[in-house]
């Protein structure tokens, strides 16, 4: 099953490489990985999406917790949560394609953020399925370049992951 594990990490050099190293060393899967500092500059927030059986996921969370620089973590997929990913896509846009793409972008509630005579650059946020859906809708033949940030997520409601 796909899981989103969200980690509070000491904001120190080398901490990220320990997390990444752990995944490759123990043969765990990383689908996406995002990391950035938080409002507390001593902490980074790292989100990793991975897949595996319940037993593997249990080991992943335990092994992550064992890393000295991991302060806290939560498996967001255990409860209701919000997940978002940002995508920037360059699309070939000439002639009648231009109106068609514009319509599709509107349906997906994206924005065209840069334009040339032959190219649209589109920005789109949502869960990963929605981003996949957009690419499918516009058709891969017109896609020139795709950049995705990877998933970040947060629990719904009052629950917070903090010190």
């Amino acid at each position: 099953m796909r899981r989103i594990i969200s980690v509070l990490l000491e904001n120190e050099p080398g901490a990220l490489s320990r997390v990444v190293g752990l995944f490759s060393q123990r043969n765990y899967n990383i689908e996406t990985l995002t990391v950035a500092p938080t409002e507390d500059e001593t902490l980074s927030r790292l989100t990793v999406t991975t897949t595996g059986s319940d037993k593997v996921i249990e080991q992943i969370t335990k092994q992550l917790n064992k890393l000295i620089e991991v302060v806290k973590l939560v498996d967001l997929t255990e409860g209701s949560h919000i997940e978002r990913e940002l995508m920037l896509v360059k699309l070939k846009a000439t002639g009648s394609q231009r109106a068609e793409i514009k319509r599709t972008v509107d349906i997906f509630r994206g924005q065209i953020v840069d334009v040339t005579s032959s190219v649209y650059t589109v920005q789109l946020a949502g869960d990963s399925e929605k981003l996949d859906g957009f690419i499918q809708a516009v058709g891969t033949s017109g896609v020139l370049e795709v950049v995705r940030t990877g998933v970040s997520g947060i629990a719904r409601g009052e629950k917070v992951l903090s010190l």
Partner: protein
Amino acid sequence: MELLSGADMLIRSLQDEGIEYIYGYPGGAALHIYDALFRQDNVKHILVRHEQAAVHMADGYARATGKPGTVLVTSGPGATNTITGIATAFMDSIPMVVLCGQVASTLIGEDAFQETDMIGVSRPVVKHNLSVRHPEEIPEVIRKAYYIASTGRPGPVVVDIPKDMTTPNERYEYVFPKKIKLRSYNPAIRGHAGQIKKAVDMLLAAKRPIIYAGGGVILGKASGQLTELVRMLGYPITNTLMGIGCYPASDKQHLGWLGMHGTYESNMAMHHSDLILCVGARFDDRVTNATEKFCPGARIVHIDIDPASISKTIDADVPIVGPVDAVLKEMITLVRESKEKPDADAIASWWKQIEEWRAFHGMRYETSADTIKPQEVIETLCRLTKGEAFVTSDVGQHQMFAAQYYKFDKPNRWINSGGLGTMGFGFPAAMGVKLTHPDDEVLCITGEGSIQMNIQELSTCKQYNLPVKIINLNNQALGMVKQWQDMNYESRHSQSYMESLPDFIKLAEAYGHVGVRIDRKEDLETKLKEVLAMKDELVFVDIYVDRFEHVYPMQVARGSMKDMWLSKTERV
């Protein structure tokens, strides 16, 4: 206010940390530190002949004393030479701090002379690693390193020290922190009371219980509590290779150790049990054999300080995360106060069954009129040293024979590389033990393959007068490899013969030690007695043993715990 250079701070911190010995080897990036060492005499430095040996020495010291070992090396090749030793300590959870010189911080990343990214290289085989970013941080980094290495599930910690952190004429205020607290690292200090209660109820209700103890009992200094609990219950106990000595081997409740080369009765009792109390062990593949066939009727209680060890390979019915001593203490109280008592009839018939198993095999081996059997050597040594020696070993058949036939009644006396299986470990580890136990007998039981992986340390032993006894079970082959080739590759002995062996006697003499060769069975006991009587000499005892011997019992690959070879021809 006390102003010190980084190098002086480092040595001062080691003193304040209570470090007696460091094992190491100098080089460019560590020279400021070596100079600071020279100018004091509280911390003693042992100069090895290869950095790998320094780490195994620190490791042997740590295993025998329960205190963290310390290593000091230079950058680049000095640092990379420690990796096998660090990985060895990591696999067996041995507390240790490895201080590595590094090129100046201004040069890092430029492929400077003797630059290696030691933080990166060591990362998968350390509990943690730290680099020094400012000289003033040194006392805190050192304190942190020892704290992390020796608490929770222990392990090696590497500290990377760029040369410009130790510059002699740059002085800073020295403050040694009294206490270290890390918000992201809080090992459990006791187990969950509800889980402990549940475990005790299950223990008392069991009909075919067995205690399965591991190295965690020794690391957690809980042999006393374990022995008390097991005696109170009257249940059978087995332990892992790493757990040898955690419960007295001479006690009748002890079934010997379990797993690939464990006793018949241990493996049979595990397989047929209805309850396994696992204390500080980790259901390693050399114990469980095929996990899907593991102990089909057993429920499992698992006590470990490391949550990640629980339900990693075998699912636990009752997981208990906590230090083994504290958890066992609570269990003892609960058992004592409980109105429930063990089911006497069920336990009696369980013992009857176990005694039958014990009688069936009983660690027998065939003796011969003229060739010396390796098992015989170990039994003789055990008798002559009254089972009280510190015994280190290397890796191979000799290791298994030593573990099987030397009977340890005390913890910390059997010292081997269980997890990584590092040939070359035994001799330097013995040196680390001897240094701090000068009055105890220290035996290194090795093979002619393994001993050659760190034989240069004969020189170190001369320099520091370390009269260990090297017992070389010379079968003129990489015996364990050869055994597997006999069993799985129709005896095609690909690269498992040792040709051109040195004359070990002359070699020992060349280094200034004594060499003794034993090749006749009738000489075995008298010559070993003579060897042990040479208290102040390192003696290299080269014993020509049966070249065709195999280690048994041996679990059948991919079988269950009860599937074993008992000799070359008997399979159960």
